[in-house]
Amino acid sequence: MRPFNHINATTLNQASDALKKSGAVAAAGGGDLFPALKDNIFPEYPKTVINIKSIPDLDYIKVDGDTLRIGALATLADIARSPLVQANAPILAQAAGRASSPSLRETTTIGGNVCQLPRCWYFRKLNNRFNCARKGGERCFALTGDNRYHSIFGGTVFETAPGVKRTCVAVNQGDLAPVLMVLIAKFVTTERVIGNMDFFGVGVLNSTVLNCGEILTEIQIPLSEYAQRSRYKRFTFRKSIDYPVLNLAIAVNKDKSQYHICIGGVAPVPYIAGNAEALLKGREITPELAEQAGIAAAEGAKPYEANAYKVQLIKTLVKRELLAL
């Protein structure tokens, strides 16, 4: 790791101002940033790391009226073992408790988890070996390379510079993202409140819609009936450490008038399985319906040869989790 300046921020304003300066990056738990620095994956090596974990009182977990509020600096381990989360958003506790590895869960935060950069091996290769579109480069190497873990629902076109559009097929593999989507979470930042459908995005060195210097401060989850009837499934090749190849969150309201299904690891942002939701609306789950919903969830997929298995996984896992709901 190369030398850099280090600032322990004590206020959000201080951190935000510092982050607006060129060459500054934020670190909370550091689970995403420090390996990236060690591997030297960025086009420009950061000059300054702003430690935002030193900002007090941002690691709370509390219920406030009809909302579960989680500070962005709450660790995954704290979320997993929180009675409040277990009671009011059990699949969030499950997802947090299975992410990464036990030791990393003690340090990494919910804010860092939802803001993490893609795990694409072209993006992550040492010494910025592939200066890909997601880093502002010319192309997405996975489009023609080994894309077995990449999107089956196409790439996202985004601006790498004013007027310059490129595509990225790296997927969002965060553990918590699909869960927060089906629980209709809100994301509070230093500048605004962002709804679940609008938070995740694709940009240069960005997996969210956060602007430069904008800091995620809180996640709000409405205490709703969805949280009480929900499932989370994490599909990995290894039972520990792995990022999910595919993860799935399902929630349904009490009268089953509305199902929420979100799948991670299959698209550049968490994928809402709208066709399956529409199919299921207002209906009781039967084996036949679950199977149809699995097929509907995978509709529209345009996989590459190497990642066609994800279509089968969607069909199977959606079916199984609906039956287990």
């Binding site: 795990r119 040492l126 077995r148 290894r238 996989p303 298995y309 089968q312 996984l313």
Partner: protein, 795 residues
């Protein structure tokens, strides 16, 4: 050949050898972090070094502008490939280098090339490397072997890698078998990137004629990494030593004996100090990495200041076992007897100077376990830029699975239990013509069947209550023991205590503990009675090579211990005759010894006493047996090893492995329900070592078959997953505890009838075969869900 001829070869009762839970002498140090590995050494005034590594799979450094790097405060030096200093280093152990020590051509991505930077910190080294302005020439590369077969593809190895000298006469063992041949004189000469070589035994045409049908099948092996768990690192510096002429080199972290390093740096052994004991665990892999060799050179460059060089985890992902695609034809009678074997394999030659032994092995394979003597092995070998293969023995067990798969395919075709087909085809103890049963094989087979409740079914015909498909498989193999090396042992009785001086180094297999147990057994002592003196100057080394070396080396220790025992008893008898004690000019009467009047033959040692065999109540404490300091040295070869000289054409100790899996055919997930090893290592020396060797080798095998593979970008040849997240070594949650049943038929040819255990339990296809039994489809390893679903036609 049973161990019956040496001292105590027929020992029936063991007090120490085989005893469970003998603690590792260095376990506390390793478990508590006291142990210092190469990367742990911090020396005052230490500098750091890092090598430039190629970002391309095949490249040449044309020039490097170092000005910007050298301008960074704290950067001490940048040494380029053409610096005369690299002429001062000789060949490293097991890594003979044909070109410059630091070349300007890289034959795989990540290879060290062109420059080394030296700076005050590792971070500054990184910064300096980034500041180098390197003019690269990208060269044609091969990471797809089939592309390498194209005769029009440019040649990727220069003339300095000409192999014409390897087409000469081949080595022949004392048993008359050729071995370690890369090429035979009759082989066609290499063209471009492709070599061909054929090993012919027996009469293939006669074998086809005897057969009722021909069975063809493919076995594909992918390349995997052994992954040394500790980062390869060394720190070295040069000092003046008032007691020795010339400079003294202090080096820590280099694998191997100090003599190897002394040889590289052309200094006397006595001028090398290597006190650090710990190398870190490894599974074979005898190649030093540049980070472990280069520091003395760099220290010299900076006037003797200590220099440390440490590989990163990612830099550790160099290749271990190479890719191979075998198409095999068997001639078979209607009863299932194999009459002919033709193996056509396409293999990866790896980057230049990879281990030829690893690539070209056609000796240690399952074919010689068959009664069939008509065997032709045709290899097509393609130069590649996939990676560098260090010398290691994992290829040995892998080759055996050509037969494991063949028997499974045959079982399916004939609807016969594969264990019966194995029994039909395996030859007898003494030769391929011998039709008698092999006792060790029979014992391992029967015990395995019993413990597995073995009830073979045809492929794809059994579902478990939870809906998953059930499959099971078995394989057999010979237990290994190499006897290539001369071993040496010295034991010393001093001040009433037996000392066992050894230089280590410690690489994870606890050989010293095994040797100590053997010495204690022979001397009638307990394990803790022997004082192990770790001393880098000692002649003895732990580097016997895993279990297969330990049992051979153990023979030497056994002989040495008996020599020492004889000398102690003779000295005790001599001293018992003395009636007067002298202290300077004074004399005083000595109390009469109870051993007075006996001969050495009439005495024995047991439980801390030297006693009269005819009347054990007459004794002196072992610590008072003699006031003399007595030493015994013994060196040489252990008895010939059937494994190392006949490659499976003779059998002594055997093993069987068994696997039961459940396959979810909707998700492609494979779960190993049970993995069992029934092994007859001949005689267990240290059970903890034996069991952990089995665990380690099975872990390796499970990882290779379920998860591990190198993935390279097809466009650039760059390795995409050389890290612990993406390469996916299994975690302990991914594989079950290995059930082990250990038999001791004592038919090995090491100490006490022991043989080795580790290597030959490694396999590439036991789990894959069980998956086939479950699903009816063959999947190439690793059987990850994506590959499984594809094989099952689900995507």
């Amino acid at each position: 050949m049973a161990d019956l001829t040496g001292a105590n070869g027929q020992r029936e009762n063991f007090r120490v050898v085989g005893k469970p839970n003998i603690p590792g002498l260095t376990s506390y140090a390793m478990a508590t972090g006291i142990a210092k590995f190469g990367s742990d050494f911090n020396v005052p005034g230490m500098l750091f070094a890092k090598m430039l590594r190629s970002p391309y799979s095949h490249s040449r450094v044309l020039s490097i502008d170092t000005a910007a790097a050298l301008a960074i405060p704290g950067v001490v030096d940048v040494v380029l490939w053409n610096d005369p200093i690299f002429k001062e280093i000789g060949s490293g152990p097991l890594s003979g280098k044909k070109s410059s020590y630091l070349p300007n051509e890289a034959h795989c991505e990540g290879a060290e090339v062109g420059a080394v930077v030296i700076a005050e910190s590792e971070g500054l080294c990184d910064e300096a490397l980034q500041a180098l302005i390197v003019e690269w020439e990208q060269l044609p590369f091969i990471v797809d072997l089939k592309k390498g077969l194209d005769p029009d593809f440019p040649t990727i190895r220069g003339p300095e890698w000409d192999e014409s000298d390897t087409y000469g006469p081949t080595s022949v063992t004392s048993e008359g078998h050729t071995w370690m041949a890369t090429h035979y004189p009759e082989d066609p000469r290499k063209v471009g990137n492709v070599s061909w070589t054929t090993k012919i035994e027996g009469d293939l045409e006669a074998g086809w004629a005897e057969a009722d049908f021909i069975l063809e099948y493919d076995v594909n092996l992918h390349d995997v990494v052994s992954l040394l768990p500790n980062p390869q690192a060394s720190v070295a510096w040069w000092t003046d030593n008032m007691y020795k002429p010339g400079k003294t080199l202090r080096i820590e972290g280099a694998v191997g004996r100090r003599g190897m390093i002394a040889n590289m740096y052309k200094v006397p052994d006595d001028n090398v100090i290597q006190e650090g004991l710990f190398q870190g665990g490894k599974y074979c892999d005898w190649g030093l990495r540049m980070a472990q060799e280069i520091t003395p050179l760099l220290s010299k460059r900076v006037g003797g200041r200590p220099v440390r060089c440490c590989n990163t985890r990612e830099e550790n992902f160099d290749m271990c076992v190479n890719e191979r695609h075998a198409h095999i034809k068997l001639g078979v009678t209607k009863d299932g007897l194999i009459t002919a074997v033709e193996d056509n394999s396409l293999l990866d030659h790896g980057a230049p100077n990879s281990s030829e032994m690893t690539v070209y092995d056609r000796d240690w394979n399952g074919y010689y376990s068959l009664k069939c003597e008509n065997i032709v092995q045709k290899y097509t070998v393609v130069d590649s830029n996939r990676g560098f293969m260090h010398t290691c023995g994992q290829f040995v067990p892998y080759s055996w699975d050509m037969v494991t798969v063949g028997i499974a395919v045959l079982a399916e075709k004939l609807n016969k239990d594969p264990t019966d087909l194995a029994r039909l085809n395996i030859h007898g103890p003494d030769s391929q013509k011998d039709t008698r049963p092999v006792p060790s094989f029979e014992a391992c087979l029967e015990e395995g069947k019993r413990l597995m409740n073995w009830n073979w079914h045809k492929a794809g015909t059994k579902r478990l209550p939870d809906g998953r498909l059930h499959g099971a498989s078995f394989r057999y193999q010979m237990c290994p023991r190499h006897a290539f090396m001369k071993y040496f042992c010295k034991l010393e009785y001093r001040g009433g205590v037996v000392h066992f001086p050894t230089q280590g180094p410690i690489a994870g297999w606890f050989g010293t503990e095994c040797f100590t147990m053997i010495a204690a057994e022979e001397l009638g002592l307990n394990f803790e009675d022997i004082c192990v003196d770790y001393d880098y100057r000692a002649e003895h080394t732990d580097e016997a090579g895993g279990s297969d070396g330990v049992t051979g080396h153990g023979w030497i220790v056994k002989e040495c211990a008996n020599l020492l025992k004889k000398k102690i008893l003779e000295s005790a008898v001599k001293e018992a005759q003395i009636e007067v004690m002298r202290f300077g000019p004074m004399e005083m009467p000595k109390p009469p010894s109870p051993l007075k009047g006996y001969t050495a033959d009439e005495l024995d040692i047991m439980d801390g006493k030297v006693f009269v065999k005819a009347d054990p109540s007459v004794f002196v404490p072992f610590s008072q047996a003699t006031s003399e300091t007595i030493s015994a040295d013994y060196g040489g070869n252990s008895p010939k090893s059937a494994w190392a000289t006949t490659f499976g054409r003779r059998f002594d100790t055997m093993n069987t492995s068994w696997c039961e899996v459940a396959v979810d055919d909707e998700t492609g997930e494979v779960e190993i329900l049970k993995y069992m090893v029934v092994a007859d290592p001949g005689k267990v020396i240290r059970r903890t070592s034996l069991e952990s060797q089995i665990d380690q080798v099975v872990f390796f095998s499970q990882g290779c078959q379920l998860l591990e593979e190198y993935i390279m970008d097809p466009e650039t040849g760059v390795k995409l997953n050389g890290n612990m997240v993406d390469y996916r070594k299994p975690t302990t949650l991914d594989v079950p505890v290995v059930d082990k049943e250990i038999l001791e038929l004592r038919s090995g040819d090491g100490a006490y009838g022991a043989s080795g255990i580790a290597h030959n339990l490694a396999n590439s296809h036991l789990i894959i075969t069980a998956i086939h039994n479950a699903t009816g489809v063959w999947v190439d390893p690793p059987a990850t869900p994506d590959r499984m679903l594809k094989a099952l036609g689900k995507c």
